[in-house]
């Protein structure tokens, strides 16, 4: 028994060290901007850079838009697949996995060819159009995570009974999805939303090739040109991502306990 616990701890410590050592080393390096003693100069340098503020703000806005569009697409899709077309579930699940199979670079080259300025839908012909295209690209990238989060949430509620009860009370389909289903799976939707956000904040390939001023290309640019700031930025990105993950855990405690499945 004792030796079992020893091995369990050993595996845990090795696993933890695998993640923590590079992080601690990065953090330590980010404090070394001044010779001889530790300082937060590199962080001050990052935060005072206006490009950091504009690119980060841009990515936040695109991320929020991607979350809204993603929810509008995924929630009704999962709802209808669960309620009306359960036979389509394996197909839809496979479809939502496609963004993990197809690399982002192939996706973005497809977009550029399909939506170039001489095409029928010239998204890439203007800055606004490219922003819209980027938002949709991020919705696609986040689809596997969003779909799974919403699908899991939908599994915990009795969709059939809720729908029938809402119908008998006079609700039409948009009302059922917006006012009955969505509030009941809100926690699941939020966890999908935070995953989407975490992906969008660090995404480089699509933003770079569509030439949008997003945070990912900025990170890359700083990484190629500065010594200490990239380490500081990496730590900042980690904190943001962890913040998003922490939010999922915190919100998970408020999961609705009403209308749970009874069967």
């Amino acid at each position: 028994m004792k030796s079992n616990r020893f091995w369990a701890w050993l595996v845990f410590i090795i696993g933890a060290a695998y993640f923590i050592v590079p992080l601690v080393a990065t953090f330590e390096f980010s404090l070394r901007m001044r010779r001889g003693y530790y300082s937060f100069d590199s962080y001050a340098s990052v935060f005072s850079d206006t490009r950091f503020q504009t690119t980060f703000g841009y990515s936040v806005v695109i991320g929020l838009l991607a979350i809204v569009v993603g929810i509008l697409i995924v929630v009704p899709a999962v709802y209808f697949v669960r309620l009306r077309l359960p036979r389509l579930r394996p197909f839809v699940e496979f479809l939502t996995l496609m963004p993990l199979i197809i690399p982002a670079i192939i996706l973005v080259y497809g977009y550029i060819r399909l939506y170039n300025s001489s095409s029928i839908i010239p998204f890439t012909g203007s800055a606004l159009g490219t922003d819209i295209l980027l938002t949709f690209a991020y919705v696609t990238l986040a689809l596997p995570y969003m779909y799974r989060a919403v699908d899991t949430g939908m599994r915990t509620i009795d969709v059939q009974t809720l729908t029938e009860a809402a119908q008998i009370a006079g609700a039409n389909t948009p009302q059922i999805i917006g006012r009955i289903i969505l509030p009941n799976i809100l926690v699941a939707v939020l966890s999908g939303a935070f995953l989407t956000f975490a992906i969008v904040i660090g995404e480089f390939t699509i933003a770079s090739l569509l030439n949008r001023p997003a945070f990912g290309p900025y990170l890359q640019n700083i990484g190629a040109n500065r010594a200490y700031e990239p380490a500081a930025l990496a730590i900042i990105s980690f904190i943001i991502t962890w913040g998003a993950m922490g939010m999922i855990n915190v919100l998970g405690r408020f999961a609705p306990r009403t209308s749970a499945r009874t069967d």
Binding site: T161, E164, A165, A166, Q167, I168, A169, G170, A171, N172, T262
Partner: protein, 85 residues
């Protein structure tokens, strides 16, 4: 028959090859109170679900206040149904 508030006329429901409800007709007026009695699986719930609009009858019609509601959606019918817990 025509004066009855809710009337169910020759209602039939078939699932595949199994006929669950075989030509049921009944009706009642406002203020009346009726009970559907029968053993498990005889189609009581199916009849109620067809009246509420959750199941589409294979044939037959349902009228409320003289208006045919057979093809209306559940939320368009002025009907209430309480689910068993």
């Amino acid at each position: 028959m025509a004066s009855e508030f809710l009337s169910v006329d020759n209602l039939v429901k078939t699932y595949g090859t199994t006929t669950v409800v075989k030509g049921v007709s009944f009706g009642f007026n406002k203020g009346e109170f009726i009970s559907l009695l029968g053993p498990s699986g005889c189609g009581k719930t199916t009849i109620l679900r067809m009246i509420a609009g959750f199941e589409t009858p294979t044939s037959g019609s349902i009228k409320v206040d003289g208006q045919d509601i057979t093809s209306l959606k559940p939320n368009e019918r002025q009907l209430g149904m309480v689910f068993q817990a």
